[in-house]
């Protein structure tokens, strides 16, 4: 999968690329809107991560240009503006999703995966890990063929792990995922309690603890 990162802050762009490369994505960089369009027209990409505030041509103009040219490549907008106006303008222009800075690696990877899955040609709603099968359309999970009764939050946590197998999530990342960035509890106990409840449903062997770091679901 090839991803184009369009971001004028060089350090941030490099960090995003390093992160994406850890997940085996191929990554190219552009540092302004015009360069981004040149690259998209010249090469194939599966996804664009696009900053909004940029010199020469801003992110929203880039999306407009792409969509006017009937280019349907998925676009994940990035912006430091934690304001609704940018989100609305970007989505109106044809972006597929939005992430406000600073974002956690967890959130970025989860959105990237989700967008790539949504636009992949082989569309399967089933995700499998050993005897655990998640159906993203029906929003249900089966263990050895038996449907589990998960709460909405348990499903949400498990979905994150199933979409990101072999990725370690810290407690902070998980708490931001569950409660939102603005509601992070400085209590590791709260996350452990959620995970304990999830394990009661799916068993202990799936989500493993990495001491003083977080949790991982291994393939």
């Amino acid at each position: 999968m090839r991803i184009l990162v369009v971001e004028d802050e060089v350090k941030l762009s490099n960090n995003i690329c390093d992160l994406l490369k850890t997940q085996k994505y191929e990554c190219e960089q552009a540092f302004n809107g015009e360069e981004a369009l040149d690259r998209v027209y010249a090469q194939h990409f599966d996804l664009i991560l696009l900053d909004i505030m940029m010199p020469l041509m801003n992110g929203i103009e880039v999306i407009q240009a792409l969509r006017e040219a009937s280019n349907a490549i998925p676009v994940l907008m990035l912006s430091a503006r934690n304001q609704v106006q940018d989100r609305v303008d970007g989505l109106d222009a044809g972006a597929d999703d939005y992430l406000s800075k600073p974002f956690s690696n967890t959130e970025l990877l989860a959105r990237v995966r989700s967008l790539l899955r949504r636009h992949s040609e082989v569309k399967s709603s089933l995700i499998r890990c050993k005897d655990l099968v998640m159906d993203e359309v029906k929003k249900e999970v089966k263990l050895n063929g038996k449907i589990l009764e998960l709460t909405a939050k348990q499903y949400k946590i498990l979905e994150l792990f199933m979409l990101n197998m072999n990725v370690t999530f810290t407690r902070l990342q998980l708490s931001e995922y569950i409660w939102g960035e603005e509601n992070t509890l400085r209590s590791a106990n709260a996350i452990d309690a959620h995970l304990k409840n999830l394990r009661k449903q799916i068993g202990d062997e799936y989500v493993q603890t990495i001491r003083n770091i977080g949790y991982i679901l291994k393939k």
Partner: protein, 230 residues
């Protein structure tokens, strides 16, 4: 507009820009650290320390976000984009996400409602308000305590009440606890000191009011009163 108001508005704008400028470097530091945390070639004990560093970065970011809510000039933009949504669904979601935390202390949260009213809201911000109130109730209540979240209509208001059996707040401190960075004297818990100030600002943003009734040692009742739309 008076000179003083103009000056205040300008100060808020500058401060808002300053907060905005802080977000990119924080983002860079965090992304870099988190990439190292998942790097298996780095020794575990080093990665464990980086986890703590990321938590500190997140703490600064949390403060930045909270300070932004306290700036009045950010509010108009938010209000322009309000959506009408169910208040009950929103509160139920917050309660569900906090239940495991209450279970640790063997506490029970009950949600009692006969009303399913819709209000114009910024969903994220309003969730933050109820998250603050309910997580405080959990934090400051003893083991086995009961926490109640009640919905009702009182005159022209939709009221959501969060009621706990916690340590309570002394009368002379009840107004001050809504001030930024004020610390209640009988509390040891750590926090940014902005929680209730931010909750109050979020309530104002929604033309709502938070009314506190509390007695030391007997618990607290926080009523969030929304104006009922016709």
């Amino acid at each position: 507009m008076s000179d003083l108001k103009e000056y205040k508005k300008n100060q808020d704008r500058v401060f808002g820009e300053f907060l905005h400028e802080m977000k990119t470097p924080l983002s860079i530091i965090r992304t870099h650290l988190e990439a190292e945390i998942i790097n298996d070639t780095i020794p575990l004990e080093v990665r464990q320390k980086l986890v703590l560093d990321v938590e500190e970065v997140a703490r600064i970011n949390h403060l930045v976000n909270d300070m932004k809510i306290l700036l009045s000039n950010e509010n108009q933009i938010l209000q322009d984009r309000f959506e009408e949504k169910s208040l009950l669904v929103l509160v139920m979601d917050v309660v569900e996400s906090l239940e495991p935390l209450a279970e640790i202390k063997n506490q029970k949260i009950s949600l009692v409602s006969k009303e399913n009213c819709k209000v114009l809201m910024d969903e994220h911000k309003l969730k933050q308000l109820f998250f603050n109130l309910i997580s405080n109730a959990i934090k400051y209540s003893p083991l086995h305590a009961k926490i109640e979240v009640l919905f009702f209509i009182k005159k022209n208001h939709i009221v959501v009440e969060v009621k706990d059996e916690g340590i309570g707040i002394a009368k002379e401190e009840q107004e001050k606890i809504f001030e930024a960075f004020y610390r209640v004297s009988n509390v040891k818990e750590e926090g940014t000191g902005l929680g209730l100030a931010v909750s109050n600002a979020i309530a104002s943003l929604h033309n709502a009011k938070i009314v506190l009734k509390s007695q030391l040692g007997k618990g607290s009742r926080f009523e969030v009163k929304f104006e009922k739309t016709k």
